[in-house]
Amino acid sequence: MLTVSEVTVDFVGLRAVDQVSFSVGHEQIVGLIGPNGAGKTTLFNVVSGMIRPTGGAVALEDEDIGHLGPADRSRRGIGRTFQIVKPFGNLTVRDNVVVAALTQGHSVPQARRVADEQLERLGLASGADTLARGLPLASRKRLELARALATDARLLLLDEMMGGLTPTEVNDALALVRELNEEGMTFLIIEHNMKAIMQLADRIVVLNQGAKLAEGSPQEIAHHPEVVAAYLGEPVEDASDSEDADGAA
């Protein structure tokens, strides 16, 4: 579905992403992990169109989308959430999602209906008329997801959705991602919560200092010597262990 080919991003005097290639197949969940500053969010920004890469290409369904801005990519089905949540704070929770639905060509009343459906599904319906800035963090993260879903996204980029959540909230988020995935949603997920991503991902891509260090199944990654040395610190024994290795979060 998504193909990232030899993407390089140079900031002034700094190579943030260095010749990274990977792909995400239909209905897959691919994890993107690595230490802070490894270039994960920068790569997200390249995929969602927020920044233009210095080199390389991004293709969606085998079509080059390098020339498209973020709004057009959203219309092609790429949705995203932000590591630091960006709700439309002074709009109500409902209106946050209405904006997203409107870009799909719905009329305002139709968009309200779409918004209410998404809010219902994500458990945000009861606070639909409150201002988004008043929501607790977990709800703001859900709101970003509701917004992305209202754009009819087919590929969701989640940037540290578990960060700052309580264990219960993490479990809810995991269940939600699985449910959406079963319905056909494709995911690319940046995550520091190792336990969560190991459970969730079909495949994991590891970045370190801008370059791809490894790629493979959660099991392969957990025991990959270089990944262990660069990031994990110690092998993640069992992905379903109760004690997790989210110390990097």
Partner: protein, 344 residues
């Protein structure tokens, strides 16, 4: 978007508010009709021409601030160069009237067209700039237009200005009675505020507020940020120019200082900020507060001292109601209603 200004009322309150709205429905219609009736006879209720003159100024400044608000308040494009569009409107219709004998009613649209086009071009150049850089660009644009108005003497007659010879009648938008200008001003305000109210309920308005709240998030859900900001800038510029034409016909003399100076841009922004940016009626309320305040202080205290008191009062207002007078009043009303419900 009904409750952008609220401080996040709980759901229970929403339902009681809805019940209250139903109960007050017929009352609202009566109240609205009463307000319209008062507005129609208002100039005749005022004690003297001084007050009618001030009332017309309130309307013109209210319209200017409302037009500014479309781009700055809803889309977040804080401009400190809007006097340029006021000047473009005033000069375009006046020159067409003086040179080609074209009615200001038509010249108004020409001015709006020129200003809208300028807003479009300026927007395309500057709206990619963020925060203070955008503000500085609008500031520079305002100065450029002022300098052009002073120096393009063949066109504008420079600092000497343009006198509109009095030839009264509706077709020339020139009237002997001050009261007539009240009705022109009322129509102007109705158009600008009406467009604002429409915008609040439209796709366009949703996009603009999303852009104001967070550009990156707006982009990520498919909003074409630059395009909509440019449309807002052009619309705001065009409506500002329309108000500029009305202003020119009202004072019947325009020069660069009275139409394009920096202080005017500040005044426009100030009125909207004091009244409440991003609200449909806030800028109008701002004009109702600011214009009489300035006039009365000047009449009572004279130049220097009046400015000091004026400045001190502005600071007080902004400190007391940082989000503007209208949101502040709405909050007071909500609090009062809550107290009444608790005690009832």
């Amino acid at each position: 978007m009904a409750d952008q200004t609220g401080a996040g009322p709980a759901v229970a309150e929403e339902t009681t508010a809805a019940a209250a709205a139903r109960r007050w429905g017929p009352m609202r219609v009566v109240a609205a009709l009463a307000i319209i009736a008062v507005l129609l006879v208002f100039p005749y209720l005022l004690p003297s021409g001084f007050w009618v003159d001030m009332a017309v100024q309130v309307l013109i400044w209210g319209a200017l601030a409302s037009a500014w608000n479309l781009s700055a308040g809803y889309a977040g494009g804080l401009s400190l160069g809007h006097a340029a569009f006021l000047g473009v409107g005033a000069y375009t219709s006046t020159l067409l009237f003086l040179e080609l004998d074209i009615s200001p009613w038509l010249g108004m649209f020409a001015g709006a067209g020129v200003a809208g086009l300028l807003g479009l071009v300026l927007g395309a150049i500057t709206l990619r700039l963020r925060g203070p850089f955008f503000v500085l660009a609008t500031l520079a644009f305002g100065f450029v237009v002022h300098i052009l108005a002073v120096n393009l003497r063949d066109l504008t007659r420079g600092a000497a200005g343009l006198v509109i010879p009095f030839d009264g009648g509706w077709e020339n938008m020139l009237f002997a009675s001050l009261e007539a200008y009240w009705y022109v001003g009322l129509g102007l305000v109705a158009v600008v505020v009406g467009i604002t109210l429409w915008l609040e309920r439209s796709r366009f308005g949703y996009y603009l507020t999303a852009i104001r709240e967070n550009e990156d998030a707006a982009r990520s859900v498919g909003v074409k940020v630059v395009r909509w900001k440019i449309v807002a800038a052009a619309l705001s510029a065009a409506l500002t120019a329309v108000a500029g034409t009305v202003y020119a016909q009202f004072v019947q003399y325009i020069d660069p200082d009275s139409t394009t100076e920096f202080e005017l841009s500040v005044q426009i922004a100030l009125i909207a900020i004091v009244g409440g940016m991003g609200t449909a009626f806030g800028p109008l309320l701002g004009a109702v507060v600011i214009i009489p305040l300035g006039e009365v202080l000047r009449a009572e205290l004279g130049g220097g001292p009046s400015l000091m008191v004026y400045g001190a009062l502005l600071v007080t207002i902004v400190l007391a109601a940082p989000r503007g007078a209208l949101p502040w009043l709405q909050q007071l009303v909500r609090a009062a209603r809550r107290r009444r419900e608790v005690s009832a």
